[in-house]
Amino acid sequence: MVSVVLSGVRKSFGTVEILKGIDLTVEDGEFAVFVGPSGCGKSTLLRMICGLDEVTSGTVAIGGEVVNDVPPAQRGIAMVFQSYALYPHMTVAENMGYSLRLAGVDKAEIRSRVATSAAVLRLDKLLDRKPRELSGGQRQRVAIGRAIVRDPRLFLFDEPLSNLDAALRVDMRAEIASLKARLGSTMIYVTHDQIEAMTLADKIVVMNAGRIEQVGSPLDLYRMPANRFVAGFIGSPRMNVVAAVVGPDGRPVLAGGAVFPVRTDLAPGTRIDVGIRAEHLSPAENGDEGTLSGAVRVVEHLGSDVFVHLAVEGAAYPVIVRIGGERQVRAGDLFRVTPEPSSIHVFDAAGLRVPTRSPARSAA
């Protein structure tokens, strides 16, 4: 187990700056997930921790030692690649034992360590097969086996599940979660899939355009997104964000006239964005304060839940509402919803979160 400390890490390819100063600490035994849209620099950052890409400026420290100039093999890490990156001419056992062979470990020891790791990953019957004789899921397990057999201080995963189909991805996600529990090693995992991030991480690092937008536990990010980007990125479906202005009493007012039941200290007339998740909107009783209403555009039945897309006056995009699966809603119906006041997020013109308080409490 080992901690990873990144200080002022920058990366440029020619004149293009990919990473614009990253400061981050991943603690001993922590499972950190870098998440962000394609091209945000998360894979580049992982490759720099691995030593596959050079650091343009700043330092990468693993276990207290700055490793900028240490080759990958001497960093005590193992990396699992998106494309498995298995050696096609070697058997599963040879693939898994390759790093140990390079390290000069004796043959009997290699055999026993490969067998142990293979048993953990249910690969014991496949040890004599070549990668081309394996399914996608088996290949990815070999890639993970190749990493754990080395007993590394630090595991790096670069989008390891994105080549798998949806069902297999769920299985492998559970497998990685149990691996994390069993090994207790420090792990850094890159993905663009926020569900993987939410389910696996102790700590999520949300990245965008070469910068860290927010670092926190999955629930922190979900409940208290620091800005509009994080609010939109974490959570499924995306948080509804509508443009509004601050009304005379500090309450956000939508262009269509709807008033939200929270207050901010921003000056009246200030342009803001109001965010509310689909699950924090509930079907309204008549006359509720802050009720949003609109015609139902689309109804998505997912069995347990129904997602209703509403065309709310003054909102540029449909507002999505989650309701119980038993409720009957048809396209074209008029639908009214009430937001849960404590789950309303307000973002200023720069997209940063603004503190809010409930009108009731301020009056009291």
């Binding site: 030593g51 050696y87 390759y98």
Partner: protein, 278 residues
């Protein structure tokens, strides 16, 4: 648009294929039948389409006359050495161009490929004095080296395009596993590149085996002569044109390369298509 599965399309493409095959194979057919025709039939004003009275005398002559076996041996030695050396140099150069980034990489590659714009014969004018000053004139080593000059740029490019298809993640995985660059190349990349190695080896081999000009110019001693000039000088010189013997000797001379192709063609085809179908 022509429907590719239609009967018309099949007839058009089928006929084209047959015509091309006839065009390519007729000389080989002519070579084969001429080797079995007696001289009287061979030199008739109206040629016959098959040997009416097949004989083996030309083969006997070809074995007996000149140094066919010696020349075959010389050709094999020179062609195999040139092909091996060419493959060895090209594989490292191609890998370096494909998988490493350094300044001047593109320039060196363009420079290397630009050697191809000079006609084969023209290069001989500058190669001749170089080979002479190295003391390699009239030696199999000199001939071998001169063949590499021409085969190397294309071979390097062939390896370059093959290696660009080898996934970089596989190499990076080996790097993370603790392998050095040379070890990665020898234990990871090379074993998956056999088709490319076979393709380039055969390319270099054919280049040397089929040559006449360089072998005629750089080799003068009878005992070092390769098969091409050897046959030309033995059968088709100023005073003598023994077509029957030349044909029989040609069949024997092309046998090794045909056998090699038949044996290696699976690899060869794979090598050619390795980049397009992964």
């Amino acid at each position: 648009m022509l429907d590719l599965s239609s009967r018309t399309a099949k007839i058009v493409f089928g006929s084209a294929a047959i015509l091309i095959a006839l065009f390519l194979f007729f000389p080989i057919y002519w070579l084969a039948i001429s080797a079995f025709k007696p001289n009287a039939e061979l030199y008739r004003i109206t040629p016959t389409l098959y040997p009416h009275d097949p004989v083996l005398t030309h083969f006997a002559t070809a074995f007996g006359r000149g140094n066919l076996m010696q020349q075959l041996r010389n050709s094999l030695v020179v062609s195999c050495s040139a092909a091996a050396l060419n493959t060895l140099l090209a594989i490292y150069a191609g890998y370096s161009f494909a998988k490493f980034r350094y300044s001047g990489r593109r320039l060196v590659m363009v420079f290397l490929l630009s050697a191809q714009v000079f006609p084969f014969g023209l290069l001989l004018i500058s190669l001749y004095p170089i080979v002479t000053s190295l003391g390699l004139i009239d030696s199999r080593a000199g001939l071998t080296l001169s063949y590499i000059v021409f085969a190397l740029p294309v071979s390097t490019y062939m390896f370059y395009s093959y290696f660009t298809q080898v996934p970089s993640e596989m190499i990076e995985a080996a790097r993370a596993d603790g392998a050095g660059e040379l070890r990665i190349f020898h234990t990871i990349v090379l074993p998956v590149s056999i088709p490319a190695v076979v393709t380039v080896f055969l390319y270099g081999f054919m280049w040397s085996w089929n040559d006449l000009l360089y072998a005629m110019t750089l080799i003068v001693s009878e005992d070092k002569r390769t098969i091409g000039p050897g046959m030309l000088l033995a059968y088709l010189n100023e005073v003598n044109s023994d077509w029957g013997g030349a044909m029989a000797a040609s069949i024997m001379a092309s046998a090794p390369i045909v056998v090699a192709f038949a044996f290696l063609q699976r690899w060869f085809i794979q090598g050619v298509t390795a980049g397009s179908v992964k």
